[in-house]
């Protein structure tokens, strides 16, 4: 199977200052890769590089075996979509307007949205349970609803890679659950490779297939959540004593400090 997204010995940073060194990662279709690590370790930087807006300092990043840096913004956006945090959305647009903007990479200079674009918008809105919000202004929606609308917008790009940077940062427990379940389900159903950063280790443990633990500008460990999220590893990376048990209903690792 060809990796949807692959970092090939990539060094990422701002200006000439590297933040992450020689990153090698691959994400397969249908797989959710969780990125964890202490604050400031470069989780968001990794997402920025994967989205193509931060060119790597060294090495290359591949989307479906295409060198990311050689793709135009619209070619990139057809293959790869980013779900930003639901903050500072232009609030007077309707949810439907926002979702249709996901069709941007398919529309030329003068073209308006076609019936196909509208049909795709309808489909992704029903997949994300946002169809009933279509005519509401996004500023009037709850944080969880806004986040689902943004996921719908990303799906409207019909991407093969989906990147999410702290999608649950401003959500309460119920909406966190909803959003992550949706992402998990979409990855499987649509064969999308998902990369997600979350600072809540328990959410990562529950919703990722594999976890990459970042520490000191490097990928310290990648693998099954149960293998990576261990007291020893986490204790060393986060610098506190950590206990790991097992979630009573889901069986995923339960991390306590």
């Amino acid at each position: 199977m060809i990796a949807r997204l692959r970092f090939d010995n990539t060094t990422i940073g701002y200006g000439q200052k590297p933040v992450l060194h020689s990153i090698s990662l691959a994400v397969l279709p249908g797989e959710v890769l969780g990125i964890v690590g202490p604050n400031g370790v470069g989780k968001s930087t990794l997402i920025k590089a994967a989205s193509g807006i931060l060119p790597p300092l060294e090495g290359r990043i591949f989307i479906n075996n295409n060198d990311l840096s050689r793709l135009s913004p619209s070619e990139r956006a057809r293959n790869l979509a980013v779900v930003p945090q639901a903050r500072q959305l232009p609030e007077a647009f309707t949810a439907r307007d926002v979702v249709l903007m996901g069709r941007t990479p398919y529309l030329g200079w003068l073209a308006g949205e076609s019936e196909v674009d509208h049909r795709i918008a309808d489909e992704v809105m029903s997949k994300t349970a946002t169809a009933h919000l279509a005519d509401r202004q996004v500023g009037q929606l709850s944080g969880g609803e806004q986040q689902r609308v943004l996921i719908a917008r990303a799906l409207a790009q019909t991407p093969s890679v989906l990147l999410l940077d702290e999608p649950t940062a401003h959500l309460d427990l119920k909406h966190q659950d909803e959003v992550l379940k949706l992402v998990r389900e979409l990855a499987l159903k649509e064969d999308i490779a998902v990369v997600i950063t979350l600072h809540d280790l328990n959410l990562v443990a529950r919703f990722s297939d594999r976890v990459a633990l970042l520490s000191n500008g490097r990928v310290r460990d990648v693998g099954d959540p149960a293998q990576v999220l261990t007291p020893d590893e986490l204790g060393e990376v986060y610098g506190v004593e950590i206990h790991v048990s097992s979630h009573p209903t889901h069986g995923s690792p339960l991390v306590l400090s």
């Binding site: 989205s51 193509g52 807006i53 135009s72 913004p73 619209s74 070619e75 990139r76 956006a77 057809r78 979509a81 980013v82 930003p84 500072q88 959305l89 232009p90 609030e91 007077a92 647009f93 309707t94 307007d97 903007m101 996901g102 941007t104 990479p105 529309l107 200079w109 003068l110 308006g112 005519d135 509401r136 202004q137 500023g139 009037q140 917008r153 790009q157």
Partner: protein, 362 residues
């Protein structure tokens, strides 16, 4: 009207098809009707009043097959064709240019207070125009065509400087944008005044021009403005969709596949061209570019695909109305229209600000 206002109906679910249909049609009807009414009034009102029905008859009598009995003094023809219509056309075009460029600048900077006047583009264009005029007052066709080109250059330089001064990281906050605009426009206005003082003979006309009184009469300025405005407005009207995407910020716009830098450049160029042309022939007129897009957004929503063309039409309507006030309020004296737009526009903007605090419409 209340029902269709997306701000007021925001909480509910607007009716599906019926709502959509009327929402798409009514703004154009209102704005178009407003433009026609104001244009006719503008042509009718003056020291010699020409009744609107006579205006229609005069226009119709020009058509080859129209058999219309001539029951009006022949001086009406001259007044209408030589004085009123060119003036009305120039004012309408100026208003359209200001409305459209204001909307585009607001979208570009993602900043509700951007407008060619406030961000200093108008003064920058004005300085370049005055510089050109001081070399030779535009009595020739060549002069008429060079002035907008010079003003366009001035506008682009100014917008570049203001943008660099105002930018904080990746955003242009309201406060720094205004401060940069004030700094740059104070500087350019001072230079403009200096140049005008040095070229004494044309001083009065230049000052009148600068305050928004048209210093030139007849059709030549209208014809000179048309090609620039046609190009600039057409580009802006077609850029509605990219402007919508830009409202999510540069980063998201880029991730949505928009070639952000290229579109921004085209938007800056087109809106500066349009604003500079307005300044070249009608002087510096404030607040139209600020108030009109807000008014349109408030009435008909934030979608730039409709906002730009509607702000264009409504800009024409509002400036025609202001011009009628300017010509009649102290008749027979005529005020520069810039004074009227400032006197009406500034309090209106204060009201908008107050309202903005209650309903966040941006």
């Amino acid at each position: 009207m209340e029902k269709e206002n997306p701000l007021i109906s925001a909480g509910g679910h607007p009716g599906q098809l019926q709502g959509v249909r009327s929402r798409f049609l009514t703004p154009w009807i209102w704005a178009g009707a407003g433009l026609i009414i104001m244009a006719v009034l503008s042509a009718a009102i003056g020291p010699v009043a020409i009744p609107p029905n006579v205006i229609f008859k005069i226009l119709l009598s020009r058509l080859p097959f129209a058999a219309i009995e001539i029951d009006w003094p022949s001086t009406f023809n001259t007044i209408l064709y030589q004085i009123r219509l060119p003036h009305t056309a120039l004012i309408a075009l100026t208003g359209m240019a200001l409305g459209a460029s204001g909307a585009a600048y607001q979208g570009l900077f993602r900043n509700p207070l951007a407008d060619p006047y406030i961000i200093g583009v108008a003064s920058g264009a004005g300085l370049a125009a005055v510089l050109t005029m001081s070399i030779r007052w535009p009595s020739t066709t060549l002069g008429l065509i060079t002035i907008p080109a010079a003003a366009f250059t001035g506008a682009l330089i100014t917008v570049g400087i203001v943008y660099m001064l105002a930018r904080v990281g990746r955003t242009t906050p309201i406060t720094t944008l205004i401060l940069a605009g004030v700094a740059v426009s104070t500087f350019t206005s001072a230079l403009t005044s200096l140049i005008m003082l040095l070229s004494t003979d044309e001083l009065y006309r230049a000052i009148a021009w600068l305050l928004g009184g048209s210093a030139l009469g007849g059709w030549p300025p209208v014809l000179a403005a048309l090609p620039y405005l046609f190009v600039g407005l057409a580009v802006l009207i077609f850029l509605g969709r990219p402007l919508n995407v830009l409202q999510f910020g540069d980063e998201q716009a880029l991730q949505l596949g928009l070639n952000v830098e290229r579109y921004k450049l085209v938007i800056v160029a087109a809106s500066s061209l349009v604003a500079a042309t307005a300044v070249s022939f009608s002087g510096i007129i404030g607040f139209i570019g600020l108030v009109v897009p807000h008014l349109v957004r408030l009435l008909w929503g934030p979608d730039y695909r409709r906002l730009i063309p509607l702000a264009t039409i409504v800009g024409g309507v509002v400036l025609l109305a202001s011009d009628i006030v300017a010509r009649t309020i102290l008749a027979p004296r005529e005020l520069p229209v810039g004074i009227v737009t400032a006197v009406i526009g500034a309090p209106f903007f204060m009201w908008l600000l107050r309202r903005a605090k209650q309903v966040r419409f941006w």
